[in-house]
């Protein structure tokens, strides 16, 4: 795939003083935001924030949006996107992802918002000339050709005609649409429109690109192409803000992610940071014949221990933890039934199983025919393996597990109390009045509780 024309390196970081001024001048572009921006913060704090945000492509604090009709779509979102990084925003349907992007792009006026984008308060219109945007469910006028789409929207950013002429073809080549340049958009397939949309977002050589579900309706080849484009943009020092629910795709390209649940950032950071305490080793075993089971401790999930649904207990564990105990290598400090207890790792989906603690302090968990040891060190797992082997337990596999983005995501969107996955767009819990279904893409906050908020438990759940 050809490179992006007009390649520019990482843009020079704006002068701290300039950013400080702009942040002070009013933090949010929306009308209310201008008034509210900067409130309740001292000048010193302002400067510190400004200094911190000088390197940020996007830095917003406390973004709040309540739609007319009472849907509280964003509840104080704090978010930072560094310059030159690929940032992924995840969240279930109706979490407020698109609302947040639209607030940044001045399509929606935030109820409250403080922060900056490319060194200027959010909502500062001229700054948008340096931002590329691909809306979700975008529709280009059907009477325009691919070429005209690029030309028109680039002209709307104020780009000169000669410059536009120069860039149209390379941009269409970038997304492999140059052969269709003269065809009308109405004859394009969804994937082709998406490609043209991406080219359109890059036409004016933006410093920051916001792509809302860029791979929506695109075939696997197209997805790979888009991923390549994103990586290319990153190489060129542009910041890319991706909004997607295709987690595996995000995982491949993003440097940092934020998970938005019910209008709040549930977690934010690099995938490495977010998964650090969730990395583990998993030992998969086959139990010898004659291992008995007793009532009352847990339930077999299926596999080598017995039939799913059968009671699982101490004796069943005879093959596992207690055996290791006998050898004095494994000390169980707590064996508990966890049908209603708290999970061993915050946020993991609730499962039936048993936990223990190794001498070295690492947690160990038995679930079905898996033994998990919460460590990144292979050495720590060795005594467990030895104990199991000594008991004649057959090992199927031992492997290090690094949680996927999907696991993080599921953790964020699972109601810890009920163990249920939050239903998309189901909550009318905080709707003040009847809303007439104005927006179709943001179904409103999901029901139940978020990962860090159990506050909204409305009658809707």
């Amino acid at each position: 795939m050809p490179g992006v024309p007009g390649v520019r390196g990482v843009r020079g970081v704006r002068g701290v003083r300039e950013v400080a001024r702009s942040v002070e001048s009013g933090a949010c572009g929306s009308e209310e935001g201008r008034r509210l921006g900067g409130e309740s913060r001292g000048a010193g704090g302002e400067e510190r924030r400004a200094m911190a945000s000088a390197a940020e492509a996007i830095s917003v604090m406390g973004v709040d949006k309540t739609y007319r009709g009472g849907v509280h779509a964003l509840r104080g979102v704090d978010l930072n996107v560094h310059r030159g990084e690929v940032f992924g925003l995840l969240g279930p349907n109706g979490a407020g992802k698109s609302t947040l992007i639209k607030v940044l792009m001045t399509v929606i006026r935030a109820s409250r918002c403080a922060g900056q984008m490319l060194g200027k308060p959010v909502g500062h219109k001229p700054t948008l000339a340096k931002v590329g945007y691909l809306p979700e469910h975008h529709s280009f006028p059907g009477y325009l050709t691919g070429e005209q789409v690029l030309d028109f929207y680039a002209a709307m950013t104020g780009m000169k005609r000669s410059e536009r002429k120069r860039r149209i073809t390379p941009m269409l080549e970038l997304v492999n649409m140059h052969e269709w340049a003269g065809e009308r958009v109405r004859s394009y397939s969804k994937g082709m429109r998406q490609r043209v949309g991406i080219a359109q977002a890059l036409m004016h050589d933006p410093e920051l690109v916001l792509l809302d579900e860029p791979t929506d309706g695109v075939d696997p080849v197209g997805r790979r192409d888009i991923r390549d484009v994103v990586l290319r943009l990153k190489e060129e020092g542009r910041a890319v803000f991706l909004n997607s629910h295709l987690l595996s795709e995000l995982e491949m390209v993003t440097d940092r992610v934020a998970i938005l649940v019910q209008g709040k950032v549930a977690m934010q950071g690099t995938i490495d940071e977010l998964t650090r305490d969730k990395r583990r080793y998993e030992v998969e075993v086959e139990l010898p014949e004659g291992v008995g089971v007793a009532d009352g401790v847990g339930r077999v999930e299926g596999g080598a221990l017995g039939d799913a649904g059968e009671p699982l207990s101490g004796e069943a564990l005879g093959g596992l933890l207690p055996l290791a105990l006998e050898r004095g290598e494994l000390e169980v400090s707590a064996v508990e039934e966890r049908r209603s207890g708290t999970p061993p790792t915050a946020g993991l989906p609730r499962r039936e199983g048993l936990t223990g603690m190794l001498d070295s302090g690492e947690r160990v968990e038995v679930e079905g025919h898996r033994v998990r040891v919460w460590t990144e060190e292979a050495k720590v797992v060795e005594p467990v393996i030895d104990a199991l082997r000594a008991q004649g337990v057959t090992l199927r596999s031992v492997r290090p597990v690094r949680p996927s983005l999907e696991e993080l995501f599921m953790e964020a969107v699972t109601n810890l109390r009920t163990g249920e996955t939050l239903k998309p767009g189901a909550a009318a819990a905080d709707r003040k009045g009847g809303r007439k279904g104005k927006r179709r893409d943001e179904g409103g906050p999901v029901s139940g509780a978020g990962a860090d908020s159990n506050a909204v438990e409305g009658g809707a759940a």
Binding site: R68, K102, I108, T127, A129, Y133, H138, G142, A155
Partner: protein, 400 residues
């Protein structure tokens, strides 16, 4: 500038894609061509090489080829084509501008550009008007040529039709734009705009309908007053004559004819006095009747005042193109004196005091012409500005 130009080019592409623009333009051309085919001669209406023996208007005093074409332009070209057919076609072509503009998936693209919402909205609005301006300009230029080539008069005044029709269209288009923003539906905004237009039409009809009796009674009162004044003058004359006649009749050498003259004079005096009495009571009755109609008419005018004056805006062209004097000349003598109510020797004419149809028409026209241009245009433009202001606020404040 780049952005405005881009929006202009886009608007053109949109219209071009819709084909309606070209269809409307072609229709305009056809209408003008058809007008050019019609002419008049001493025998009647001429259609290309054929002459219809129908001396309709040609018999009217002051009707010339020039006036015929002017009238044709005003009554048909402006009165029917531009104000009704072309305006409806214009609304149909432009009604989709705002609903399409704010439709989901498309509006985000425009709003996320470095251009203010106010500018975006007003530019779109201006482009809608530009469409209509092009249509009217083409039609008017063609009409100007027909007037010149066929009627032999190069009347630059017809170009006033361009701003007037566009202004007239803009009253409706502002409403259409607001409704398009609110309903986001082309059909809904179009139908509601036409409904609004219809309401204006009803109001205009009510205005004219109620104005007629008011003016009729006014004129009747005026006529009766004039006749009464004449009669009173006659009474004075008769009374003076009475003294003289009585002296002569009572003198020694009075002849029978003198006595007869006195008796005649007395009768005349009596009759005229009765006439004055009747006139007085007639005035009273007419004033009462006028008083019952007047408040209704005033109410309608009051309702009309803040609304756009569609009909009157278009009528301004006629007002400017055909001056009052030549209108009088064409539609008969306007200033017949009130003498006709009394014969030359002062005898009151036994005729109705009700003004005839022509007089009524004339009075209504004069009443309309008495409404100032400021009132017609000022209040209408004020209405449009308010509607646009509301629409801009709606557009600027909305979350898309």
């Amino acid at each position: 500038m780049t952005q405005t130009w881009a929006l202009l080019v886009d608007a053109y592409r949109e219209l071009n894609a819709k084909k309606l623009f070209w269809i409307t333009l072609a229709l305009s051309g056809l209408v003008v061509a058809a007008t050019a085919c019609i002419g008049i001669n001493e025998r009647g209406i001429e259609l290309l090489v054929w002459t219809l023996d129908a001396p309709v208007n040609t018999t009217l005093p002051g009707m010339t080829e020039e006036r015929f074409y002017k009238e044709l332009f005003i009554n048909f070209g402006l009165g029917i084509w531009l104000t009704w057919i072309a305006t409806v076609l214009g609304l149909v072509s432009t009604a989709a501008i705002f609903p399409d503009f704010v439709s989901g998936g498309s509006i985000e693209m425009s709003l996320s550009k470095p251009i203010s919402r106010t500018r975006l909205f007003l530019t779109k609005y201006a482009l809608g008007l530009l469409f209509m301006t092009l249509q009217v300009t083409v039609f008017t230029v063609a009409s100007f040529l027909v007037l010149g080539l066929r009627g032999g008069v190069w009347e630059f005044g017809v170009f006033l039709a361009i701003p007037l029709v566009v202004l007239f269209f803009s009253y409706l288009f502002s409403v259409c734009a607001l409704l398009g923003l609110l309903t986001r539906s082309t059909i809904a905004s179009l139908l509601l705009t036409i409904l609004f237009w219809f309401l204006l039409f009803i109001l205009n009809a009510a205005d004219a309908g109620l104005m007629q009796p008011v003016l009729q009674y006014e004129q009747e009162i005026e006529n009766r007053r004039a006749a009464m004044a004449n009669a009173e003058a006659r009474i004075e004359r008769l009374e003076a004559a009475q003294v003289e006649l009585r002296e002569r009749a009572e003198s020694a050498d009075a002849r029978p004819s003198d006595r007869q003259a006195l008796a005649d004079n007395e009768r005349s005096l009596d009759g005229t006095s009765k006439f004055v009495e009747r006139a007085e009571s007639g005035i009273e009755r007419a004033e009462e009747s006028k008083a019952t109609w007047e408040p209704w008419h005033e109410a309608v005018v009051a309702i009309k005042t803040p609304l756009p004056k569609t009909g009157e805006t278009i009528a301004l062209l006629e007002r400017w193109l055909i001056d009052a004097a030549s209108l009088r000349e064409m539609r008969g003598d306007w200033d017949e004196s009130m003498e006709e109510f009394v014969t030359e020797d002062g005898e009151p004419v036994n005729r109705s005091f009700d003004p005839d149809q022509r007089d009524q028409q004339r009075a209504i026209e004069e009443e309309y012409r008495s409404r100032s241009v400021w009132w017609v245009l000022g209040t209408s433009v004020a209405f449009e500005v308010v509607v646009l202001l509301v629409a801009t606020v709606v557009f600027v404040r909305r979350d898309f």
